[in-house]
């Protein structure tokens, strides 16, 4: 019995261990709510998703999710691994189009435009809804070329000085300018992990998107780099609408205005970040944020 006691002790400090211990038990004990709890909708949404179902082949990854994202709002998507946060995020700029077996049902509106309208051009959509990935993925080109890629692609700058201006502004906004201004012609891949991620953020804001989607942007970074990016997100939120997926509850609490909790493809609870972390309504949410499972 001593070993069992030990295990439970460990589980208290390491939630992941607990999850391995009792994965299904949790789900069976606590039923899903009939409807998403809290306030999934808002008055003046930048993006609004309704009755979203996503399938990978025969298996369903998202079940009937409806969610609004307000203007200049930072919304954090949290939830255990495999619950469909990335899937949902990638649907918002149609990155899932590239996966053949992925089928998306429901409506996605970016202000007045239907994102999945066949007449809407994905190129335009992705200029309006940018994305930052989990792993920093700068192009194997110079720092300058990395940032200039989007503006060039969409013809945002006709003259060299205009492009220079966009590059400088984007790097400044991403808090990277002072670190790289002397070596713009060096490869972006030669930067540190945190710098690379900020470069990727600079790259995506160079085309002045309306929404920036971030999929665990700090998971590969050390605390200092993470702090820088969190600061950056805070600053960017005055101009952009941001949806961020994160595994760190502290990060969600620090940077976001609203928090959405996903569980096995269902949107359980959405509320002001404060409310979610101080007074979660649903038992699953509470279990997750108190670290009772991963």
């Amino acid at each position: 019995m001593e070993t069992a006691q030990n295990l439970t002790d460990t589980a208290r400090t390491i939630p992941a261990a607990r999850m391995a211990q009792e994965p299904e038990a949790m789900n069976q004990k606590i039923p899903y709510p009939e409807q998403t709890i809290g306030k999934p909708l808002c008055d003046d949404p930048k993006m609004s998703m309704r009755n979203v179902n996503v399938f990978y082949g025969d298996s369903q990854a998202i079940y009937d999710v409806s969610l609004d994202i307000g203007k200049n709002q930072v919304i954090a998507l949290i939830g255990p691994s495999g619950c469909g946060k990335s899937t949902f995020l990638r649907c918002m700029n149609r990155m899932n189009d590239t996966i053949d077996i992925c089928k998306v049902k429901g409506s996605f509106m970016l202000e007045q435009d239907n994102i999945y309208d066949p007449k809407l051009d994905v190129v335009e959509l992705r200029a309006r809804v940018g994305m930052v990935f989990q792993k920093p993925n700068p192009f194997p080109k110079s720092i300058y070329e990395n940032v200039a890629y989007g503006p060039r692609l969409h013809g945002l700058a006709n003259k060299k000085f205009e492009l220079d201006e966009i590059v400088e502004n984007s790097l400044r906004k991403a808090g990277l300018w002072d670190e790289v201004k002397d070596r713009l012609d060096q490869p972006g891949t030669g930067l540190s992990g945190g710098q690379q991620q900020r470069l990727c953020i600079a790259r995506s804001i160079a085309v002045s998107p309306e929404v920036v989607l971030m999929d665990e942007p700090c998971s590969a970074l050390d605390p200092i780099a993470t702090a820088k990016i969190e600061e950056l997100i805070d600053e960017l939120s005055s101009q952009y609408t941001i949806a961020i997926v994160t595994h760190s509850m502290q990060q969600a609490a620090r940077v976001s205005h609203r928090t959405a909790y996903f569980h096995l493809g269902r949107l359980i609870e959405v509320n002001d970040t404060n409310t979610v972390f101080t007074a979660p309504e649903h038992a699953l949410t509470e279990a997750y944020i108190t670290g009772r499972f991963g």
Binding site: M95, V123, R126, F133, N137, F139, P140, Y149, L153
Partner: protein, 422 residues
């Protein structure tokens, strides 16, 4: 605890032993390969280097108008058709006045190469004032004389130079009237029945044009096919079928491609025989699978995160491929192209089928002139009875290797330039 350590220690010993064994295997395999290369190279070089030089004999040429049968050295018609061999024969008679027997005379005349007269003609064309004068000239020797001079003292008995001629050649040698000079014609002439006049240049240009056609067709087609199959084609039964067939094509014996080329390009489309264009087309068919397979591997190895980044920035698929995937995959594609082209350069069988085995004297001026290629030339010379062709064969192999090495060096340099860090 100590039990585990002991166990680990024991297994460690076995592990080190097996590692050592494996290293020994590896080293001996590499050593064997190196040895094979060294043996091959020493054999080829020792046999072939003598073909890069050839023997000349010194004679006093009397530009006698009567012998030549001309009266006006400025008339190009006359100069062209004059009998220059007669001058050489006269000079040889002059040099060895004792030779009177008709048969012996014939042997004497054969000391000089049958092509030596052409050089005298060129000299007279350049300088008509020579007519009537007596000049000392170095005359290209026959290949039998060449072999005799180049051979060691003991080996001279075994050369093909007739008994009667040996004292004459020895006399010339004693007087310092023989000389071994750089064989420039080997690098500037086409094939010839006479080994001392045979050159490799027609085959080199033939190979060059054939490779040019092959590269110009196989690389773009192969890369385009690979890009389509990797990036755009839906994954279904048809593309699977295509994929299997491409892999099968890579294993088809090359002579089959030759037969195919004969049936399609020559018989159906009526393209001329023996030309680099058709050779290039056939070799394109042969190298395409290699290039497609390696290009696909190169495209596959481009990290998916780069594609996502490009698509996430709003690039279309085409732009993603053009801006990111192709540049990153290019070094790998070039590697495949090098292998394919090296294969094509050494290929003989399919070219025999489309008639590139012809006896080519003239240097081809383009991909539509009849020509042969280096490996076929090697095959032809290796098949010739004259002993001198043995050296020529090895020399041609060296030229082929040099061609191959320079082609590969070029590609490797190109690849180095294109390679990027990530």
């Amino acid at each position: 605890m100590s039990n585990t350590t002991e166990q680990v220690r024991k297994s460690l010993k076995a592990r080190y032993r097996s590692e050592k064994r494996f290293r020994a295997f590896g080293i001996s395999a590499v050593a064997f390969g190196l040895l094979a290369v060294v043996v091959l190279f020493t054999d080829i070089i020792s046999k072939g280097t003598s073909a890069f030089v050839e023997t000349y004999i010194q004679l006093d040429i009397h530009w006698d108008p009567a012998e030549l049968g001309i009266d006006d050295p400025t008339d190009p018609e006359q100069v062209n058709y004059a009998d220059y061999d007669a001058l050489i024969k006269a000079a040889l008679r002059e040099r060895f006045p004792d030779v009177e027997d008709r048969l012996e005379r014939r042997a004497l005349y054969q000391l000089a190469s049958s092509g030596a007269g052409f050089r005298l003609r060129d000299q007279l064309q350049e300088n008509p004032d020579l007519l009537g004068t007596i000049q000392t000239r170095w005359i290209l020797a026959d290949d039998d004389v060449d072999m005799f001079i180049k051979a060691d003292a003991e080996d001279r008995q075994n050369t093909r130079l007739p008994e009667v001629a040996r004292p004459w050649v020895e006399a010339l040698e004693r007087d310092g009237h023989t000389d071994i000079q750089w064989n420039a014609s080997f690098f500037s002439k086409g094939d010839s029945r006479e080994p001392e006049q045979a050159g490799v240049w027609a085959a080199v240009t033939g190979s060059f044009f054939t490779m040019l056609v092959t590269l110009a067709l196989a690389f773009p087609i192969g890369v385009a096919a690979a890009v389509y199959l990797e990036e755009f084609a839906p994954k279904n039964r048809y593309t699977d079928f295509i994929e299997v067939n491409i892999n099968n094509l890579a294993a088809v014996p090359s002579i089959i491609f030759g037969l195919l080329g004969l049936a399609i390009f020559i018989n159906l489309f009526g393209l001329p025989r023996s030309v680099p264009l058709v050779g290039g087309l056939v070799l394109t068919l042969m190298t395409l699978p290699t290039i497609i397979i390696s290009a696909r591997a190169a495209i596959k190895s481009v990290p998916p995160s780069i594609r996502e980044a490009a698509l996430g920035m709003g690039a279309s698929r085409m732009q993603m491929v053009m801006h990111h995937v192709l540049p990153l995959a290019m070094p790998g594609m070039l590697t495949g192209a090098i292998i394919g082209m090296a294969q094509a350069l050494g290929e003989t069988a399919p070219l025999l089928m489309i008639g590139m085995v012809a006896f080519i004297v003239d240097i081809p001026g383009g991909p539509l002139d009849a020509s042969t290629v280096l490996p076929v030339q090697i095959y032809l010379w290796a098949d010739s009875p004259e002993a001198s062709f043995v050296a020529l064969t090895s020399a041609a192999i060296m030229v082929l290797l040099a061609f191959l090495i320079s082609m590969n060096t070029l590609a490797v340099l190109l690849r180095k330039r294109l390679e990027r860090r990530w």
